[in-house]
């Protein structure tokens, strides 16, 4: 390394202080590498801090399953990893079938999982669902459940990763907007609105803005910034333990310990990522409200006290970009989690750290390669 040690140098610079950036910083710190994270707002400001907090292995894209199962191992011991239980509870996650078409979808899914050797998703009969959740519509047809799944507090989790990483030597700078990235010698030279930073290794964890970096590196990706919407109610008497997902209709439905109910499902707000702005689409929210009321009739009297939407990156095939750059050495990507990156945060940081420190990872990341978009572009 030719540069003098200083505040603006680091062995690794990570762009983006969400969960993936913070997790990468933690795993690097554990390996003795003190990364510098540059965050344009504050740690956990965007998708990482405001998502539904689902810690699920259920219903993952096939390619994500091995990563998700590995990540779960970290979640099970999260307190040991980050000195905080992150509000993680394991009340299970289930995807329910409202009609025969849903049943068919779920049965096919279960079959696919078994064919690939994955047994974590179990069929659950309607009467067990009804005894587990008396408030659910009695017309429910069954579902798929992972009893060891659960949920956690997204902002608290991101923060815990950040502070643990910091305690082990990582540095985090907030309010730093990356502008131009250039190679100078063997280093990356990162120009920001707070000055210039240099590092031999760069990691792109910039979430809904990560395509701007990929673009600068000559490997454009078809990333779309989206705003998955959430609603939360005032406190209600306890009626639900597991997280409930829809099958034919989008729904993610959970009751927190404090009694409030969180309603999501991936319906999209309008977003303007350059102004950190999102506007809720109430017609879409109304659709979600109808789904909830059909599944849980008593919810019609639930009081919605707030709605919001974070700014997230969506990839057209619904899976993230993880792995080395295709155009540059010493550059790694971990972005595009398409509204389901939270549970993967702990493991993706490890994957990236392993790639950096060991040059390899024992998890199958080929499906997440950034090259898949170039191949698609070539093919079209």
């Amino acid at each position: 390394m030719t540069s003098m040690p200083s505040a603006s140098n680091a062995p690794v610079i990570i762009i983006g202080g969400g969960l993936h950036g913070s997790s990468t910083a933690l795993h690097l710190a554990r390996a003795g590498v003190a990364a510098l994270v540059l965050e344009k707002n504050y740690i956990g400001r965007h998708a990482s801090g405001v998502n539904a907090g689902g810690v699920r292995t259920l219903s993952r894209h096939l390619a994500e399953v091995p990563l998700s199962l590995a990540s779960r191992e970290i979640w099970l011991k999260i307190k040991d990893w980050v000195d905080d239980d992150c509000g993680f509870d394991q009340n299970g996650q289930m995807r329910v079938a409202e009609n025969e078409a849903d049943v068919a979808t779920l049965r096919t899914r279960q079959q696919t999982m078994l064919e690939h050797g994955f047994t974590h998703e179990e069929w659950i009969e309607p009467d067990e669902i009804c005894s587990m959740i008396p408030a659910i519509t009695p017309t429910i047809r069954g579902g798929l459940i992972v009893r060891a799944d659960g949920s956690a507090d997204p902002y608290r989790t991101t923060r815990a990763f950040r502070f643990k990483a910091q305690s082990l030597g990582a540095r985090f700078m907030e309010g730093v907007v990356v502008q131009t990235i250039r190679r100078v010698g063997s280093d990356w030279r990162i120009e920001t609105d707070q000055g210039v930073f240099t590092a031999p290794i760069l990691v792109n964890c910039a979430g809904a803005w990560a395509d701007k970096i990929a673009q600068q590196m000559g490997e454009p990706v078809p990333l779309e910034p989206v705003g998955p919407m959430m609603l939360v109610t005032t406190r209600m008497p306890h009626f639900l333990n597991p997280v409930v997902l829809g099958t034919g209709r989008a729904l993610s439905f959970k009751q927190r310990e404090n009694g409030t109910v969180l309603i999501g499902g991936g319906r999209l707000a309008y977003v303007d990522r350059d102004r950190n702005l999102s506007e809720l689409d109430f017609r879409q929210l109304a659709e979600g409200a109808r789904t909830v009321c059909d599944l849980f009739p008593h919810m019609k009297d639930a009081v919605v006290s707030r709605g919001w939407a974070g700014i997230e990156a969506s990839m057209p095939d619904g899976i993230p970009v993880i792995g080395p750059s295709s155009t540059e050495s010493d550059l790694y990507h971990a972005f595009g989690f398409s509204a389901h990156g939270f549970q993967l945060g702990p493991i993706v940081g490890k994957i990236t750290a392993d790639l950096i420190t060991k040059g390899e990872t024992d998890l199958p990341i080929t499906p997440f390669s950034i090259t898949r978009f170039q191949q698609a572009a070539l093919a079209s």
Partner: protein, 102 residues
């Protein structure tokens, strides 16, 4: 305790509106809010909170504090100060988080 001015008290006597508050029948005036009727009937409290289950009563009377939540005709979470009285209305104290009965 809040009292009616004499003219207003006369209006209640001339044209009372009957409500039940926690099972007890009281008279109030057309145009009263439920919160005003509660206060006129001598109740300074109308609910227990969700977290610590302590009593609360109307505070701002203009719909921004959400402390005057009561059960009206079986519907929970009604702002008493924003709801006008109607003959035969049934008003009940709201108990903490036991708000929506599945």
């Amino acid at each position: 305790m809040f009292n009616r001015l004499p003219d207003t008290q006369q209006a209640v006597i001339n044209r009372p509106i009957d409500l039940t508050i926690n099972g007890v029948v009281v008279q109030c005036r057309e145009g009263d809010s439920v919160a005003a009727a509660l206060i006129a009937a001598g109740f300074s409290e109308c609910r227990d909170t969700a977290v610590k289950e302590v009593p609360r009563g109307p505070f701002c009377m203009m719909g921004v504090c959400y402390d005057c939540l009561v059960m009206i005709d079986g519907q929970p979470n009604q702002q008493g100060c924003m709801t006008r009285v109607r003959a035969g209305m049934k008003i009940e104290r709201q108990q903490g988080a036991r708000e929506v009965r599945p």
